[in-house]
Symmetry: C2
Subunit: 343 residues, 2 copies
């Protein structure tokens, strides 16, 4: 007969150990804006309006999809938190916002403090790299929802942008250049397809390039474009221009993400072959015999962020970040036509 | 052979239908502070520093635990979102903060737009009741993590409190009164134990009181104490006093939540029997033959929020909210002794 919470599958002591380690990881990310939490119910962040006149708080939540299944299968949990933070960071920097703080939600079947520590350690590392505190979180033991070592991880970010600095696509014009910032791999999208095509038994084999395993390539963390966008903006503003639009190439691929950052009536023409495609995409496509358009609908295929800039400033903008490509241009698109065309 | 995202279990069209319905539900919660989202990557909330001098942003994330399993088993998904919002609201109002906006993360095995609409409709209803916009969210299809109709739901809230209005326990003194605000049931805690004791086949049977089914009692939404705390504070400040400490009785029960809102060296003495205990707790305890202390460690047992106020203002404070009980007092506690004692 089950008479205690512990017998019902909830290990309160192991949870306390996990919470201690989480607290240590989070404390390492603290900034002067973080106030001691009160009873740990909420994270406290002192906001200085003087540094952000007319502030708009920009927030986003994201998960890492079934990339989790790769981490669980390979028993490597220390990078999935980096994925989580960077996926969220990229979602808000497209508006011109700078990140302020982060929270994570971790739900797990069989709670083990060492695995929780690895996971949240990755979240803390991602936060530290972005210069923001991990200000709160929740760790839920849900033995009947998650099988054994399975878990889910969601992140939540808040940033700020002054109203005058908002990037909203309204400056985009036909003829503007589209700049692509390279992705590090699949980032956090398309894993349900990738895992069907590249079966688990192949994850320990070498990539065709021979440099690392398929599993390593699949687990490569989502890149953050925080620094690149800052550099692009400084360069463009220095030249009297600015970023016109930014798109994070995430769930929904190119068609699902680029158009929604541009005014109605505008789309992009993208030159296939104008950027290097990481080997993992070629391997997925050839292994699964996947059509080109399905690839572009499901994956980022080598570009994790697109930036629209005036054509005359494109070269200087690219030079400011170094690792970037001129991959296309903004074009007028009649209603009902596809707004992303690959040529 | 799997060659498309759809064949891999990801239904992009059904997801689009779900997103449309989510957008409609979220739009109904918009306030003038919400700016049109840019490409939907991030939610934009215009923050007015003039109304919150020296602002502290207070944020929290929470889930609803395995209360989800009850919702799934009974096929009722329209209240779990209310639970989610109120669990988060209560986590930040204990600092004196007022909520600003909310985001939700929904991960689901088999995505069906009608179920997503029910779930997110509940989130939107909770937001509307709290007067805040549902400003963003993520809906993830994860067919290999969640079994069939199973899902998980996490919420993120941001609120604000001026530094002078922060409730941080520092005003608490021995002899202060503890006021209890009644819970509506289990709220969102202890379901892993409750579901072991009250098996699924009993959920359609009547409660001993006969007024409703066991399933209805288990699914009763988490109460929000936003209004009650506002009323308490107005009454106390009007009398030249203030709230000294607030505790949300959530995961970890009484011992896990009340002490962490009080200064070291202080605890509470609680008079068992000084408030009415909802029938669902008695049913769980008697069905499972659960010890009293295990009940108080796992469940809220009828009190969802405790407030510490000076003894002389306790009666006026209780009168200001009506439905509240004087349930104990603040006492000095030597180091190492339990900080919650039931007498």
């Amino acid at each position: 007969m089950v008479r205690t919470y512990r017998e019902a599958g909830i290990d309160v002591e192991e949870a306390a150990r996990a919470v201690e380690r989480i607290a240590r990881a989070a404390a390492a990310t603290a900034t002067p804006a973080v106030l001691g939490t009160i009873g740990g119910f909420g994270g406290l962040f002192r906001f200085d309006p003087a540094t952000h006149p007319d502030p708009i708080l920009v927030s986003s939540t994201d998960g890492v999809g079934t990339k989790l299944k790769v981490a669980v299968a390979l028993g490597r949990h220390d990078t999935i938190g980096v994925d989580l933070v960077n996926a969220c960071v990229n979602d808000i920097v497209v508006t011109g916002a700078i990140p302020l703080f982060f929270l994570d939600y971790l739900a797990i079947g069989d709670l083990r403090a060492d695995i929780v520590e690895e996971i949240v350690g990755g979240v803390a590392a991602g936060c530290a790299a972005a210069g923001i505190p991990l200000i709160g979180g929740e760790t839920a033991q849900m033995p009947d929802v998650y099988r054994d070592a399975d878990y889910d991880l969601a992140g939540f970010i808040v940033g700020v942008v002054s109203r005058d600095d908002l990037i909203d696509g309204s400056r985009a014009r036909p003829g503007d250049a589209v700049i692509g910032l390279p992705s590090s791999g699949l980032h956090t999208n398309g894993y349900s397809l990738a895992r069907r095509v590249l079966r688990e038994d192949s994850w320990r084999s070498r990539m065709p390039e021979g440099d690392r395993t398929v599993g390593d390539a699949l687990l490569e963390p989502h890149r953050s474009y925080l620094d690149e966008i800052r550099m692009l903006r400084v360069a463009l503003r220095g030249a009297g221009s600015d970023l016109a639009a930014l798109a994070h190439i995430t769930g929904g691929g190119w068609e699902g993400n680029v158009p929604r950052t541009l005014p109605v009536g505008l789309g992009v023409e993208i030159e296939t072959g104008s950027w290097p495609v990481p080997g993992i995409f070629s391997l997925i496509q050839s292994s699964g015999d996947i059509a080109d358009d399905e690839m572009m609908r499901t994956f980022n295929v080598g570009i994790g962020m697109t930036a629209v800039v005036s054509a005359e400033h494109a070269d200087a903008a690219i030079a400011s970040v170094g690792d970037a490509y001129r991959i296309g241009q903004v074009v007028p698109v009649p209603e009902g036509e596809p707004r992303v065309r690959f040529v």
